[in-house]
């Protein structure tokens, strides 16, 4: 032993303490840095998406004074049949010609007519169907502008010249004239939330994809949750620990890591080719996603069951409860929050999946909003993918807007998971 004075000892300890504190600080710094990196990535992602996508919630519209002239429409009465073939574009063209009488000649008129969306005649049709008294009268309506006009107007910033693209000087002049007189305005884009997909960006909406996602998730949840929970309860509470259950456990863990496209191939082979279920249907999509989310739900449910202290089971058994009573009266209620969290995480994962749906025909152009689980449908991430691949410039902002919708659905689901857990969680 060396002789150290107390002062020396204190000095050494102080030195070591300083180095330990330094290390502690460094480690904390690293932690903060990695969180900061994550937050930065999220902020960049969100600001990019929001800056690109917020424009899509506004849609340029043109105010026109239209006359429901029976002669131009070519109808005498308002009923389903006459509405189907009435010439509403003629009415719009007449209104445009009246607004800009200077446009003469074939090509100028063509330019003029292309100011308004090709979906506008259907807006008028619906208005007339709702109010047949309008026939022969006139009214002032806001009609959606064509996507070229929309892109041009949105790119105008202050005095800077905007993106012309396919807009001619003459057309740009008309647009500026309309803008100046307040007859062309950006209005809230309700179409985006009420319509299905469309080739015309100004008529494209997210509704069909949202409903498709909803139906698909409904099928997934109703199948995967009970099956997953039942499997977890059996494996955790009943099954003997032997080579077979080990094998099953390894396989479940493996399945959780299988690339999702493989489940799509499986779904194609079994559900579509063998059982001959319809292509592009949320039913098949839900079944495929059930296969995919089952392992996640089983694993998280087993973890939740494991976390219930054995003393609860023993106490219940001691009171004379049967195995099933133990599980359903005591263990399951306590494990529920964990199971629900696992299920919601599995659902969120299923919501963002596209690859398995490719094989079963859900990556498709769907206009009609699906009304059930066997109607053709697509889902939100697929809609994003399809719009991202479209040539029309106005789809760029709609792509980002669809991402915003998907993200908000995810945020709602995850908030539900947190709230459910908070509400049901019991401490012991």
């Amino acid at each position: 032993m060396t002789d150290l004075t107390q002062a020396q000892v204190r000095e050494r300890i102080a030195k070591r303490l300083a180095s330990r504190h330094r290390k502690e600080k460094l480690f904390r710094g690293l932690g903060i840095a990695s969180i900061a990196f994550g937050v930065l990535a999220v902020v960049i992602l969100f600001s990019d998406i929001i800056s690109k996508g917020s424009g899509a919630f506004m849609q340029t519209a043109i105010q026109l004074q239209v006359h429901y002239d029976a002669q131009v429409l070519g109808i005498d009465t308002v009923d389903d049949e006459s509405l189907a073939w009435a010439n509403f574009s003629g009415v719009i063209r007449q209104a445009l010609r009246e607004r800009f009488p200077s446009a003469t000649g074939r090509s100028a008129k063509r330019e003029l007519y292309s100011l308004v969306s090709s979906g506008a005649p259907f807006t008028l049709r619906d208005r007339l169907a709702d109010n047949p008294k309008l026939l022969g009268g006139s009214e002032t309506v806001w009609l959606a502008a064509d996507d070229d006009v929309d892109t041009f107007v949105k790119s105008l910033k202050g005095s800077e010249a905007g993106f012309r693209g396919r807009t001619s000087d003459q057309k740009a002049g008309w647009i500026e004239q309309l803008l100046g007189s307040g007859e062309l305005k950006k209005r809230f884009n309700t179409t985006f939330f009420t319509n299905g997909d469309s080739r015309e960006p100004e008529q494209a909406g997210i509704r069909a994809a949202l409903m498709g996602s909803l139906f698909t998730l409904l099928v997934t949840l109703t199948l995967s949750f009970p099956i997953g929970v039942a499997a977890a309860i059996y494996l955790e509470e009943y099954a003997p620990k032997n080579r077979w259950t080990d094998l099953i456990e390894v396989n479940i863990n493996n399945l959780a890591a299988v690339p999702s496209i493989v489940f799509g191939l499986l779904g194609l082979a079994i559900f579509i080719n063998f059982f001959e279920l319809p292509r592009s249907a949320p039913l098949v999509g839900g079944l495929v996603l059930t296969l995919m989310t089952l392992p996640t739900i089983i694993i998280s449910s087993r973890a939740a069951l494991k976390a219930v202290p054995p003393s609860i089971r023993e106490a219940a058994m001691g009171m004379g409860a049967s195995r099933m009573q133990v599980v359903f009266h005591h263990v399951l209620p306590l494990a529920m929050p964990g199971m629900l969290t696992g299920a919601i995480i599995g659902m969120a994962q299923a919501l963002g999946e596209t690859a398995p749906l490719l094989m079963i025909g859900m990556v498709a152009f769907i206009v009609d909003v699906p009304g059930g689980i066997t109607d053709p449908a697509t889902v939100l991430p697929v809609q994003i993918f399809l719009w991202a691949d479209s040539p029309e410039r106005a789809f760029v902002e709609r792509t980002s807007a669809a991402i915003m919708v998907l993200l908000s659905v995810l945020i709602v689901m995850n908030t539900c998971a947190v709230l459910l857990r908070k509400k049901l969680e019991r401490r012991w």
Partner: protein, 350 residues
């Protein structure tokens, strides 16, 4: 609680199976090329608005993938129509016929393939020979002898002294893409054929000829940029020294960012592609299953909408979407054939 969940899921399942049993397909199912997709979807949408039929469901599967699904056989679970950015192959037609599928061919229009660069630089003026020399895997020896060497060219100036002194860098689609097939066939083979001795090989040794003319270099000068043409446009803006290969409609929509190179002195414009003076353009087709025409509701009406002048005519809505229409006479011929639903026989005979 669990009992309830079980009961609901059982109810949902029985409901679902009942629904399936009832559902005979009442909408048209379309698969096929991603190049034709924008046009079939546009027609599908207009068709459903103009008539009482449901909107056809259109899947974008690629030309080859579409043919596979289409030729699987006859029946509700198979597609009614497939789009193709090239003509059906003899082998595919045989597969179709072997499965009892009679095919009606409808040529709908043309699509131009452009080589574009960012607007910061001047547009390139290329010949198909330049394109072949710049992108071929093996090219004729620069010393003029009739032998092949691995592509030695590093810059466009090496290929043709009139071109700028820029490194050869071309972003294009991967081999699975129909755009790539058409580009190779039209632009590269077109340039390849300008060498007399290679052209002569076509008769003597066809596979060697194809290997020379169709193989794209793999040393990094040609970059496979994926199937998303918007992505290629964005990459061109970020890298003004590169050229990109994509369909005409993307050039049309992004005319503020990129410009098409002149090929054989012709700029890719609507008119130059329509009158065939722009050399790199390809025909687009849809193929219809004859046996379904009277089974699935709306197929005849859908074809009528497609071959209506308001759709595929010179001023039709498909032209607004970037499709180049057929000449008037050919349109009438095709429309007449489609009304009669003449099935496609042997390709060689036609």
């Amino acid at each position: 609680m669990n009992k309830q969940i079980l009961a609901t899921s059982l109810a949902a399942l029985t409901l679902a199976s009942a629904q399936v049993a009832m559902a005979a397909r009442d909408y048209i199912s379309i698969v096929g090329s991603s190049t034709v997709y924008p046009f079939t979807t546009t027609v599908a949408e207009r068709f459903s608005r103009a008539t009482q039929f449901k909107t056809p469901v259109v899947e974008s599967t690629g030309t080859g993938g579409g043919m596979k699904l289409f030729c699987q056989g006859v029946g509700e679970s198979t597609a009614d129509v497939t789009g193709a950015s090239r003509r059906i192959k003899q082998s595919e037609l045989e597969m179709c016929n072997n499965n009892g599928v009679d095919v009606v061919e409808v040529q709908i229009g043309y699509d131009g393939i452009v080589l574009a660069n960012a607007k910061k630089l001047a547009p390139f003026e290329l010949s198909r020979r330049d394109i072949f020399l710049a992108l071929g895997k093996e090219v004729p020896n620069p010393d003029g002898s009739k032998t092949l060497v691995a592509n030695p060219y590093k810059t466009w100036k090496d290929v043709n002294p009139a071109l700028p002194n820029l490194r050869i860098e071309v972003l294009g689609p991967p081999p699975t893409s129909g755009t790539r097939d058409a580009f190779v066939e039209l632009a590269m083979e077109g340039g390849c054929k300008t060498f007399g001795w290679i052209k002569a090989m076509k008769k003597t040794d066809k596979s060697a000829y194809k290997a020379i003319c169709h193989n794209v270099r793999e040393d990094g000068a040609y970059v496979e940029a994926g199937e998303n043409d918007n992505l290629i446009v964005n990459k061109l803006v970020a890298n003004p020294n590169a050229l990109g290969i994509f369909g005409f409609s993307f050039l049309d929509q992004n005319a503020d960012k990129v410009q098409g190179s002149l090929i054989e002195g012709q700029a890719p414009t609507f008119d130059s592609i329509a009158d065939q003076s722009y050399p790199v353009s390809r025909p687009l087709f849809i193929y219809v299953k004859k046996a379904h025409a009277d089974v699935v509701p709306g197929i005849r009406q859908f074809l009528a909408e497609f071959t209506n002048a308001r759709a595929w005519g010179e001023e039709g809505y498909l032209a607004d979407k970037g499709m180049i229409p057929l000449p008037e006479e050919q349109r009438q011929q095709v429309a007449a054939d489609v009304r009669k639903l003449n099935a496609l026989g042997n390709l060689a005979a036609k």
